[in-house]
C-alpha cells in the first residue's frame, strides 16, 4: 500500500453532509474491468443536464481543479461499499479528506488505500472550513500525519486525532493481508476447534449432490 506521511495541496470545500458513494463514483453506462477512475470522480455532479461541465461544482472551479485535499461535512462516503469511490480520489491526486465524520465502510476503504481520512470535531471543522473558504484555492494546505497537524496560509495550525494503529498503518504503508498472515497458526487452530464444536460451520455440502 502507498505510504502516507504528509500531503500538501489545494483544499477544496465540498460543503455538504451525507455525500454518498453513488455521487463520488457513479456506475458508468459503459463499464470495463479497467475503469477510468480519474473520469469517474463525481462524474454526474460535475455535469449539467445537457452533459456540459457545471462551472459551479467545486472541483470544476479553476482554483480547485488540481485540489489535493477535499473538505466536507458529516457522513462522507455513505451508501454502497464500492472501493472505486476511494480509487477515484487517488486517481485525481486527492490524498486527504477532511470531514466532520465518515461512513464506516468508506473510512475503512480509505485506510486500505493510503487515503488519509481526517475527522475534526465540529468546532475545529467549522474553523477549518472557514479558513479553506477564505483561502479559496490561492495557496495550499499541508496535512502532516507525523505531527497530526494541518497548516495553511495565514492561520494557526489545527491539530487532529487519529487512532494510533490507523496512523501507523498509513505511515508505514503496511500490507494489511501481510499483517494478518502472521496469525495463520491461530486461524488454523480456530478452524480445528470450530470443526469439533460447530462442524456445520466448518464445512459446506450440498445435500442434493
Amino acid at each position: 500500500m502507498q505510504r502516507f506521511s504528509s500531503h500538501t495541496g489545494i483544499a477544496a470545500p465540498l460543503l455538504k453532509d451525507d455525500v454518498n458513494t453513488d455521487q463520488i463514483a457513479p456506475i458508468m453506462h459503459s463499464r470495463s474491468l479497467k475503469e477510468d477512475y480519474k473520469a469517474m470522480l463525481f462524474y454526474r455532479a460535475r455535469r449539467r443536464g445537457d452533459g456540459s461541465e457545471d462551472p459551479d461544482f467545486v472541483l470544476n472551479k479553476p482554483q480547485f481543479r488540481a485540489a489535493g485535499i477535499l473538505v466536507t461535512g458529516h457522513n462522507f462516503g455513505a451508501g454502497s461499499s464500492r472501493e472505486s469511490a476511494v480509487w477515484s480520489m487517488l486517481a485525481n491526486d486527492i490524498r486527504v479528506i477532511v470531514a466532520k465524520s465518515f461512513a464506516d465502510i468508506y473510512r475503512e476503504n480509505c485506510l486500505q488505500n493510503g487515503l488519509l481520512p481526517v475527522v475534526l470535531d465540529p468546532q475545529d471543522a467549522d474553523a477549518f472550513i472557514a479558513w479553506v473558504v477564505v483561502a479559496d484555492g490561492a495557496e495550499p494546505f499541508t496535512v502532516d500525519l507525523v505531527t497530526q497537524r494541518i497548516s495553511g496560509p495565514g492561520g494557526a495550525d489545527i491539530a487532529f486525532a487519529i487512532p494510533p494503529a490507523d496512523r501507523t498503518r498509513l505511515l508505514e504503508g503496511l500490507d494489511d493481508i501481510g499483517l494478518t498472515l502472521k496469525h495463520m497458526d491461530q486461524i488454523a487452530s480456530f478452524e480445528r476447534r470450530a470443526a469439533d464444536a460447530q462442524p456445520w460451520l466448518q464445512r459446506t455440502s450440498d445435500s442434493r449432490r
Binding site: 457522513n75 461512513a103 462442524p199 460451520l201 459446506t204
Partner: protein, 469 residues
C-alpha cells in the same frame, strides 16, 4: 456477566488480536459477486496468494446480469467482462459459482439464506453494503470493500474494530398492509442516515418476532441505510423451521446438534447495550420516501415537509432534494403521477414480497403509460413464483417479468429509468441518479409499489383494496 447475542457471536469467532489492536474475526461464509471480485482475484494473483478456504466461499452473478428472458453473457454488453472474469476467477480458485443459467443464480443476499448457506450465529461477509440482509436468519454479517474482500479470500478473517451495540425494540403489532419495509423506513427517518453508524444492531421484541423470516431480512437489509454495517434478529423457532431442509443447511444428526446450539443464540436478560431505541409500530401506516436519502420519509397520507421542519444545517440539502424530486413543500405524496414501478432487489424480491404484490395486482391492470417491472431476487424465487402462477398475474396486468438480478436497484445491468421519470421502487436507495440520470425514486414496500402501478399514481394500498371489497 450477561452478554448480548452480538458479543456471543463476536467472541465465538474472534481468532485473536492483531498487533494494531484489531480483532481478527473468522468469517464462516463469504459470498462474492461479479462487480467487485475480479479486482480481488487479480490482486491475489499478483501477490502470489491463494484462497484460503474456497469451500467456505461462494459466488453469484447478480449486479451486472441482464433481466431479459433468454439472457446470456452479452445481453448487457457492459457486464460481459465482469461476468466472464468472475467465471474464470471462480474456476481458477475452486469456488462454487451460481452462474447465469444456474437454477440457483440470484442476488447474493437472497441466495445465501435460501440455500441454507448462511446460518444462525454464523459470520458472513459480502463485498456489498447490504450484506446484513442475512441478519434475518440470525447471522452476523459485514458489508465490505474490495481490499477487505481480498483479505478474507486470503485469510478467512476480517480485521475489525469491535462495534458498539444497539438494540432496536419494535413494539406493537403492525396494521394491515404494513410490513418490515415500512418499519425500516420509519426507523431510518427517526434515527437518520448515520443513526446506527458504529453500531451492530439487534432488532427485538414483538413486531420483529412476528415478522416472517423474509421480512426480517428486509428489516436487516436496510440497516446500512442508517449507517449500521451489521444488523440482525436473534433466531427463533420460525428461523429454524424456515431453514430446515434447505440444501446447504446441516441435515440429520448434525441438524439436531446445530439446533441445540442455535437455541442458545439469545441476548441474556440484563445484558447492556450502548444504545437502546424503542419504536411503537402499532399506529404505523405505509411509508414512502419523498427525497433523495432514505431518511426523507413520510407516511403515505403525509405531505412533502416544509423546510422549516428541519434544522437550519439540513435545509440546503432539503431544498436540493425538493429540486431534484420536482416537489414543492406541502405536496401530498399520494396522488403523485408516476412513470415507472420497480419491484425487486435484495430488499424486497423474495417470494412473500412477490405474493404480496401479486395479491394487489390480481385481476387489475397497470395504469396506461406506466412501465412496471418485477425482477425476482433469485432464479429459485422466480421458479417458485411461476409454479404458483404469480408470473401470469403480473404479466396479465402488464408488468415485465424478468430474470433474477440486482437490476434497477443500482442500474448496473443497464435497467434504468429515463431522465425525469418518477419511479416507485422497492429498493433501498433513493439517491440522485442511482436508478438512471435524473430519475426520481420513491422507496416503498411491494404492496405500495403494486398499488401505485395500478393507480398510475402513488397510492395507499389500503384504500385500493378497500375500494375493491
Amino acid at each position: 456477566m450477561p452478554r448480548t447475542l452480538f458479543d456471543k457471536i463476536w467472541d465465538g469467532h474472534c481468532v485473536g488480536q492483531r498487533s494494531d489492536g484489531r480483532d481478527l474475526l473468522y468469517i464462516d461464509r463469504h459470498v462474492l459477486h461479479e462487480a467487485h471480485a475480479h479486482h480481488a482475484f487479480a490482486q491475489l494473483q499478483r501477490q502470489g496468494r491463494a484462497v484460503h478456504r474456497p469451500d467456505l466461499t461462494f459466488a453469484v452473478q447478480d449486479h451486472t446480469v441482464a433481466t431479459q428472458p433468454g439472457r446470456d453473457d452479452s445481453t448487457n454488453p457492459s457486464g460481459t467482462a465482469f461476468i466472464q472474469a468472475m467465471r474464470e476467477g471462480c474456476r481458477n480458485n475452486g469456488i462454487r459459482l451460481f452462474d447465469i443459467g444456474d437454477p440457483e443464480q440470484g442476488i447474493s443476499h437472497v441466495v445465501a439464506p435460501e440455500l441454507g448457506i448462511v446460518l444462525p450465529g454464523a459470520t458472513h461477509a459480502v463485498p456489498d453494503s447490504h450484506a446484513s440482509t442475512v441478519g434475518g436468519v440470525g447471522a452476523l454479517a459485514f458489508g465490505c470493500g474490495t481490499s477487505e474482500l481480498a483479505h478474507i479470500l486470503a485469510t478467512q478473517v476480517m480485521a475489525l474494530k469491535r462495534p458498539k451495540r444497539m438494540r432496536v425494540r419494535l413494539d406493537g403489532r403492525l396494521g394491515a398492509h404494513v410490513n418490515a419495509k415500512d418499519v425500516a423506513l420509519h426507523l431510518i427517518a427517526e434515527l437518520g442516515v448515520a443513526g446506527a453508524r458504529g453500531y451492530a444492531v439487534e432488532y427485538a421484541d414483538e413486531a420483529a418476532r412476528a415478522m416472517p423470516i423474509e421480512q426480517r431480512m428486509t428489516l436487516c437489509n436496510l440497516n446500512i441505510e442508517m449507517g449500521g454495517r451489521s444488523g440482525f434478529v436473534a433466531p427463533d423457532d420460525a428461523t429454524f423451521a424456515w431453514l430446515a431442509g434447505r440444501p446447504f443447511a446441516p441435515q440429520g444428526a448434525l441438524w439436531d446438534r446445530a439446533l441445540v446450539h442455535w437455541r442458545t443464540l439469545k441476548t441474556d436478560d440484563d445484558a447492556a447495550f450502548d444504545r437502546e431505541v424503542t419504536l411503537d409500530c402499532s399506529a404505523l401506516e405505509p411509508q414512502i420516501t419523498w427525497g433523495t436519502d432514505p431518511s426523507q420519509v413520510v407516511g403515505i397520507s403525509g405531505r412533502v415537509p416544509e423546510p422549516t421542519a428541519f434544522e437550519p444545517s439540513r435545509r440546503a440539502a432539503v431544498e436540493s432534494a425538493f429540486a431534484y424530486m420536482g416537489l414543492a413543500p406541502g405536496t401530498p405524496l399520494a396522488g403523485l403521477p408516476v412513470d415507472r414501478v420497480f419491484i425487486g432487489s435484495c430488499t424486497n424480491s423474495r417470494l412473500p414480497d412477490l405474493e404480496t404484490a401479486a395479491a394487489v395486482v390480481r385481476g387489475r391492470r397497470v395504469a396506461p403509460g406506466v412501465i412496471a417491472m418485477v425482477v425476482p431476487g433469485s432464479s429459485r424465487v422466480k421458479h417458485e413464483a411461476e409454479a404458483a402462477g404469480l408470473d401470469r398475474i403480473f404479466r396479465d396486468a402488464g408488468f415485465f417479468w424478468g430474470e433474477s438480478g440486482c437490476s434497477m436497484c443500482a442500474g448496473g445491468n443497464g435497467d434504468r429509468g429515463r431522465p425525469g421519470e418518477r419511479c416507485v421502487s422497492t429498493t433501498n436507495r433513493n439517491f440522485e441518479n442511482r436508478q438512471g440520470p435524473k430519475v426520481r425514486t420513491h422507496l416503498a414496500s411491494p404492496a405500495t409499489a403494486a398499488a401505485t402501478a395500478i393507480a398510475g399514481r402513488i397510492a395507499d394500498v389500503r384504500q385500493l383494496l378497500v375500494g375493491a371489497a
